[in-house]
Symmetry: D3
Subunit: 338 residues, 6 copies
C-alpha cells in the first residue's frame, strides 16, 4: 500500500500536527494555516509540505484585494479538521506539514516580486519540500512554476473561469494575472500538451483570445462543457491529459460562482458550486503532484467570509492530495531502495 507510514516517519510527522478543536476552540490561537506549526523556511527540517502565503496583487487588472488573501485563508483554514470525511484521508498522519510564512513581496514591482517568489520556491524544492501556495493574484503561479518546473516541464490541472493565457495588456505589459500560463509555457516549465483548463467561461475581449492556447495543444473545458458532459467524464479526461508525470494544480477561486465566492476580483456568474469544486479536486487523487496553489481570494470584496472559507476548505482538500502524493513518493522511494 502506498500510504503506509513507517514508525520513524510517523514520529517525525507527529511533530507537525495541527491543534485540535476538541481541546481548544478553532477560533483560538495565532491563525497559521490549519493551525499548523509555523516554521522559518530556512529552518524547516523534517517538513514535507510547506504552506506558503504570497500576499501580492500588483498584477491585477480588475478589482484588487488578493494581496490580503493569505491572511484571510489562514484564518478560514483553521476551521478545518484532521480527517477528510469523504475519502478518509488523514493528511497530517501522512506527511509533515507546516506553515512557512509569506514570501517577502514588493507590492509595487511585479518583476521583482516574481524573482523573489521563484527564489523562495526554488529553495523549498531544493529541500524537498512540496509547496502549497496561497495568493495573491494569479501571476504568482508563474514564478512558482518556474521554480518547480525548471528542468522538468510539468503537467497542469488549471481550474478557473479564465484561461490566463493572454499575451499582454495596456500596450505591452506582459506580467499580469492574465498571462501566467502563457509565460510559463514560453519558458518551457509547463508542457502544454499535459495542460487542462476546467471551468472557463465569461465574455471575451476578442473571439481569438483562445487561439494561442488551443494552438499549443492546451485542452480547454468550458464550464458549459464540463457540466454538460458531467464532472466524472471531465475529470477522467483531465487525468488522461495530465498523465503520470510530475504535475501541478492551480485553483483560481473565481472558478466558483460569485454566490459561492464573491470575494474575488474578476467574478463570472454561472460558475461551479463548492460541491462541484470539492468533487473536482477530490477526483484528482493519484496524480503525481509536486505543488499546488490557490489564488485570487480578495477579502475586501467578500461577503461574510464565505470566499475565504471556500478557499480554506479547498486548501484542505488539496492538502489531502499533496499528502497522498508525498506519501506515495516516499513509499516508492523506499520500495525502489529495497
Amino acid at each position: 500500500m502506498p500510504h503506509e507510514v513507517d514508525e520513524a516517519d510517523a514520529a517525525r510527522i507527529a511533530r507537525f500536527r495541527p491543534a485540535s478543536g476538541m481541546e481548544t476552540p478553532r477560533f483560538s490561537g495565532i491563525p497559521s494555516f490549519m493551525r499548523l506549526p509555523v516554521r522559518d523556511p530556512a529552518a524547516a527540517e523534517g517538513v514535507e509540505i510547506g504552506l506558503v502565503g504570497i500576499p501580492f496583487d500588483g498584477a491585477t487588472t480588475n478589482r484588487p484585494g488578493a494581496c490580503l488573501g493569505p491572511r484571510a485563508v489562514r484564518e478560514a483554514s483553521t476551521h478545518t479538521r484532521a480527517v477528510n470525511h469523504s475519502t478518509g484521508v488523514a493528511p497530517y498522519a501522512l506527511a509533515a506539514c507546516a506553515d512557512l510564512g509569506d514570501v517577502p513581496v514588493n507590492p509595487i514591482d511585479a518583476a521583482e516580486t516574481c524573482r523573489r517568489i521563484e527564489a523562495f520556491h526554488a529553495a523549498l524544492r531544493s529541500q524537498g519540500i512540496v509547496p502549497l501556495s496561497v495568493g495573491g493574484d494569479h501571476l504568482v503561479s508563474y514564478p512558482v512554476l518556474r521554480a518547480l518546473g525548471a528542468g522538468r516541464p510539468l503537467g497542469l490541472v488549471h481550474i478557473d473561469a479564465h484561461s490566463d493565457t493572454d499575451d499582454s495588456q495596456y500596450g505591452g505589459t506582459r506580467l499580469t494575472h492574465g498571462t501566467p500560463f502563457r509565460r510559463a509555457v514560453e519558458d518551457g516549465v509547463l508542457d502544454p500538451r499535459r495542460m487542462v483548463q476546467i471551468g472557463i467561461r465569461g465574455s471575451l475581449d476578442s473571439a481569438d483570445e483562445r487561439d494561442w492556447a488551443l494552438a499549443q495543444g492546451i485542452r480547454i473545458v468550458t464550464l458549459e462543457e464540463a457540466v454538460g458532459r458531467g464532472l466524472p467524464e471531465t475529470v477522467a479526461e483531465a487525468r488522461a491529459v495530465v498523465g503520470e508525470g510530475p504535475a501541478y494544480l492551480s485553483f483560481d477561486i473565481d472558478a466558483l460562482d460569485p454566490a459561492y465566492a464573491p470575494g474575488t476580483g474578476t467574478p463570472e456568474p454561472g460558475g461551479f458550486t463548492t460541491r462541484e469544486a470539492l468533487y473536482l479536486v477530490r477526483s484528482l487523487r493519484g496524480l503525481d503532484l509536486v505543488g499546488a496553489d490557490l489564488v485570487e481570494v480578495s477579502p475586501p470584496l467578500d461577503a461574510a467570509g464565505i470566499t475565504a472559507l471556500a478557499g480554506g476548505t479547498l486548501l484542505f482538500e488539496i492538502l489531502c492530495l499533496l499528502a497522498e502524493a508525498v506519501a506515495a513518493r516516499r513509499g516508492a522511494d523506499r520500495s525502489s531502495a529495497d
Copy 2:
C-alpha cells in the same frame, strides 16, 4: 380526508390568522413569527402550534451569534404568506398557530438553561401544544426532546452538516452544541433506530467520530450519499427509518451550503441548496411529527439576511408539516371518538 376542519375548529383557528400582506405591508407591524398573534404561553387556550424562540448560544464551540437567531428569523418569517405554492397546504386554515415568545434563558449557564427549556416545552406538551422552536445553538434540541420524548422515545429526522453526537469537549464538557443527540439517546427520549441524519459532511476531528452513532443504529446519510443517490431515494429511506410513531424534525441551518446560509457558526462548504432543503422538508409530509426545531441561524455572521430568510422560509415549510400532522391527529381523534 384527514385535513377536513369542522366548523367549530375553523372558527377557533380563524382567530389565529397572520396579518395579510395584501392589506398592510409585510414589513409593518411588530415582527412576530409569520405575523401571527402573540400569546403568553400561560394563556394560550385554543393554540395548537406554538412558535417559540430559544435565544441561547452558550453551548457553541465555534463562532457565536445564534442567540440572536429568533429575532432575525421572526423578522424574515414575516415575508411568508398563507398558502404553500407547491403543496397547496394552507397551514393557518388547518391549525391554530401563535407566537408564544421566547424561553427565558440564562446566557451564561447551559445546564440551567436546559432546565428552563425543558420546563417550558413540558408545559406546552401538557396543554397539547405542538412546539416549533427556533434556536439558538443546537444544544437546545436536547431539552426540547427531553420534554417531548419523555415516556415515548421519538423518531428523528435530523438535517445537518454535523451529526452532533460527540461525547464531550475541552476535557469533559458534556453539554455543547455538538452533543445533543448523544445526550438524548442516552436519556432514552430518542430511539436511535428511528433516527436518520441527512447531509453530514465536513472534515472530522477523528476517524472514529461516527462510531458511536453507527453503533447505536443511527442512519447517517452523508451529503455525498444523499446527492449521489438522489433526494427522492434519500427521503424514501428516511421515511422508512422513522416509520409511523411520533417523530421530531430538527433542521440545522448549516445543512445548507454557506452560499445559502453564511450566517451560522460552523459553516461547511458543499452543502444543500435551499431548493434541495425545501424539497427534503416538503417530502416529509405525513410523518407523525410532535414537534420540530430550526437552529443555528447566527445573524451577526449573515450577509444580506439570506440565512434568516432561508430559515424563515424553511420554518413556513415545517409549519405546513406540523399543521397537517395536527389536523390529521385531530381528525383521527374525531374518527376514533365516533
Copy 3:
C-alpha cells in the same frame, strides 16, 4: 445568413463600440452600461439598441431600493466584454448600441412616472430603437409594454419568482409592482396566449391568486416544474408559446435564488442559479424580440454586489439576443427590399 452586416452598417456600428478592458481597466471611466457611448435619446441617430435606466421603485410593496438599480447595474455591466463565450455572438459588431441615460422619473408618483416611461419608450420606438431597460421595480414593465405593444399585442417570456398579475392591494391600489402584467393584458398590449412565466414560486397570499392568469391562458411554469422537467424542455415549450410574432423578455432578478441575488425586495429561496438563468436567456435566440427589461435589482439589499453583477451579466446575455434580433430584422428588410 441572417447576421451578415454590410459595410455601411459596420462602419456606423463601429462608432458605438464599448471601451476595451485590454486598453484601460474595466473599472475606469464613467460607468455607462457596458462602457458604451452615451447618447441623448433626442440625438441618437444611428443607434439601434438603446440601454435605458428607469430608477423608480415607488410601486414596491416589499423592501425598496430598486430605484438605485440602474446605477449599480451600469457599474457591474462594465465587467462584461465584447464576445459571448458560449454562443460566439459579438453584439457590438451586429448592432449599434448606446446608453441613453435614465427616464426622468417622479419617485413619489407612480401614475405620472408611468406616463413618462411610456412617452420615453414611445419616442424610442418611433425612432426604430429597441429598448433594453433596467429597473426599477417591476411596475416599469407596464408602461414600456404600453409603448412597445400599442397596436401589436406582444408575446412575453417572463422569468420571475412571482407572476405579478395581482389586481390590487391595500384596498384598491392598482399600480404596484405586483400588477404590471395584468394591467398590460387588460390594455391589450400583451397577448396572454403568447405569454409564459417561468420560475414562479414562493408562498401565496391566497390559493386563487393564480386563477386570473390561468383564466387568460397565460402559461405558468413553476420553479419546481421547470427544474423537474428540465430546462431544455421548459425552453422549448416557452418558444412554442411565444411563437414567431414580436415578443418581449422581462427578467425579474428575483427569479434567481437569494444566494445568487440577495439584493432584491422580495427574495424567494429555492430559485434559479445564475448558470440556469444564463441558459434560459441564451436559449431564447431567434425570438423576434422588440424589447426587454431587467428589473428589481436593489443595491442597498445586496451583498458584495453579486446581484448587480448577475444583473449586468444577464443584461449582456439579453443584449446578445436583441443584437441578433436587430440584425435579423435588418437582414430580412434588405432581403425583402431586394
Copy 4:
C-alpha cells in the same frame, strides 16, 4: 413637585413596565419598543404614551429604506434600560407607556397614507395618549402635526440637517419628505414664530431655498451656528422661541453626522455627534411636549446597526421628556382640580 406619582397612578403605570435585562437577556423576546407591552390602539386603556411605528417612505426623494425604520428602531431600543443615567429620570415610573404597533400605511400612495396617519393619531389624541412616532420618512410628521395641532397651532423644535420647507419637486409634487413643515404651517397646525430648526446644513438647490422659512419667522440655526455659539446657548434660544405653549419635537436622524448615522437617505457630512444630540434632547426638559417623532432611519443603508442604535437611544431620551411632560400635566390637573 411636578413628577410625584400618586398610588393609584403608580399601580396603573406599573402594569406597563418593560422587561428587565437583569432577568432575561435584552436580545430575547418579541422586539416591541423598549420591550414594552404591546397594546392595540383600540384597546389601550390606561396608556399615556403610545410608541407608534409609521413604516412609510413613499415620499422619499433620495435613497429609500426608511419604511423599514420602525422595526430596526424597535429592535435597537430593546437595548435601553429603565433609568436615565444623566438626569435620573425613570420614565416607566412616571407614565404608562406601551407599543401601539404600526399605522396601516399604503406604501404606494402618499396622500392616502397621510390620511391614515392623521386618523390614527387623532384617535390617540382623543384618548389622551401622547404619541412618540417612529418613521418612516419625514413626510409622516405632517399628518401627525395635523392631528395634534388641529385647533391649537404647536411650537416645534426641529433637529435636522434639512429645513424640509420646500414647496414642491418634480414639477408640482407637494407631498414629499422635503415639504412637511411648509404644509403644516400652511394648514395652521404649526405656529412658525414658535418654530426652531437646529443643525441645518448641506449644499442647497438654490440660494433662496431658505427664504420662505425665514419669511414665516421660523428660526433657523445652522449646524455651524449651533456649534459656533455652543449648544447651551443654542438650546436656551430654542426654549425661548418655543415658549410655554404646547409643543412638538421632531428629530430627523440625519441631523447626526454620517459617521454616527450612515443609515439614512440624505446624509450630510459635518453633522452632530450622538453626544451632542443627546445633550440637545436632554436640554429640552420642561417643554410642554404633546408629541414627538424620530424619522428617516433607513436600515438597508446602515452599517452595523449604529443608526438604529442611535435612534433607539434618542427615542429613550425623548421618551424621558414626554414622561416628564405627562407627569407634569397630570400633576397640574390634580393641582387645579384641588
Copy 5:
C-alpha cells in the same frame, strides 16, 4: 468684486450646469462628478475646471482599493447641490465645470502611469483648464504636480495623516504612495518653504522619518498640534506659509478619522471629523489655487459608503475654492486688460 461674472461668461458657464435634484432624483442619470456634463478632454472648449478621475492604486503599500475611488466618489458627489450653504458660493455660476473622464492608467506599471497622468494634466494646463483630480492612491499627486508646477514651483496645503515624504521602501522602490511629495520637491515643482502638512499622526517606522521634511523647511502640523492650538490658528498659519503665489491643495481622505472614513488603505484612529475637515477646506478661500486633488478613497474597504460621501462632499467644497480662484483670476485678467 472679484467674482462678478460678465454676461458672455455667464452664458458660456450656463452650458455646464449640473442636473438639479428638484427636477430628477439625484440617484438618476449616469453618475458623472456632481451630475456635470461629460466632456472629452480633447474637446473641452469653454471648460475652466475639469474634474478628472485617476483610477490607479498600483503604488499602494498598504491595503488596496483606491483604484475604485473615482467611480465611488463620482456616485457620492451626485448628492451635492448647487450652492454652498455656509459660504453662499455657487460654483457653477462662477466657472464652467465638466467631468473630463479618467486618465488612461496602467494598473501594473507605476512609472508608465505617472507619465500618462503628467501628460494628461499638462494638456489640461495648456488649455487653461484647472484640474480637480480624484485618486487613486497618493502617488498620483506627484505627476499632477509635475504638470502643474513645471516652471513655477507651487505652494501646497497638504491635509493628511501621513507626510508622504519617504525616500523609498522594499529596498529601493521610489515611486510609492508614501513618496510623492519628496519626489515633487526633488523635481523642483513644489516649493518646500511654501508647504504645510496638516493632521499628521500615527505611529512611525522610525523616529527620523520626519527629518527630511523638516530639513526642507516643510511645516508639519500634527493632528494634536492642529487641534490643540485650534483650527482657526492652524489655518491662519497655513495661509501664511503658502502665501500669495500659485498653490495646490492635496487632500488625503485618511486625514479623517476612521469613523468618518473607514474606506481607505492606511487609516489612523484619532483623526479629523468631517466637520473639522470642511472647516479647514472652507478656510482656504482666497488662495491662488491652480489645481487640487482628493485621494485614497478605497470603496471596498468602506462601510455604507460614508467615505465616498465624505470625499464627494469635500470635493464640492474644494470645487467652490477652485471656482472662486478661477473667477478671481478671470476678474484680475479683465482688470489688467482694462
Copy 6:
C-alpha cells in the same frame, strides 16, 4: 533618565523586534500582535511584556462575538509601527515584547475558564512577564486581576461605558461580564480606593446600580463629567486616585462611541472619540502599571474593521505605557542594586 537601556538589555530586546513595514508589507506574514515574534509562554526567556489573547465571551449578557476579538485585534495591530508619533516612545527599544498566544479557554464554562486564565497569568507573573491581555468579554479581567493582585491589591484605571460592578444576573449568576470588578474587590485583589472608572454612561437597570461601587469608595467619572470638566482635569484626578503603587489599566472598547467602535456587544451612543481615548491612555504615562487589558472587541458586529483597528491602535498606546513602566522598574532595580 529612567528609560535608559544598557547594552546587554538592548541586545536581548533587539531579538524581539516586530517586522518592519518598510521591508515587507504590513499585511504580510502571520498576524501576531504587532508582527512581534511568537513565543510559547513556557519558553519565553527574555520576554518582559507578553501580549496574550483570551478568546472567551461565555460571560456575555448582551450580543456575543468578543471570543473572536484576539484574532481581529492581532490583525489590526499589524498596522502599527515602531515609534509613538506623539510621545516619541519606541516601545520595542525599551522592553522585550512577544506574542504569547492565547489562553486555552473553555467556551462553555466560565468558572473553568477563569481558573485557566488565572493560572496562565500567574505563571507569567512568576516569570516576571507583564501581561497585556486582549479579550474576550470583560469577565476575563477578573481572573487576570486575581493573578496579578494576589498579595498586593492593585490600583485600577478603568475606561468603560459601564462600571461592571453588578452583583449578579438571571437569579444568581455571579460570573458575568457585568461583575468582574465587584468580584475582584471582594477577593481583595483590587483596592477600591485606588480605583477610577472613566466614561460611564448609558441608561441603568435601576437607580441604585452605582451604590455598591460608590460605597466602596470607587471614583466614577461619567462621560458627561469627564467631558464637561475636560480630559486633562479628569486624567489628573485619575492619576491622583491611583497613586504610586502597582496599578492595572482595563480598557473596554465600548468606552468609545459606536461610531468609533460599532463592533462591541453593548454599545452606548455618546461615548469617547478615538482621539479622546488615545489622549486618555497617553496621559497615564508614569503610572506603575503591572498589567493591562483591552476587551469586548466583537468582530462579527464590526463595520469595516474600525473597532479592531481602534483596539489595535489603543493596544500600541497601552504597550508604550507598559514598556516605559518596565524600563522604569528595570532602571530602578539597577539603581537600587548599585
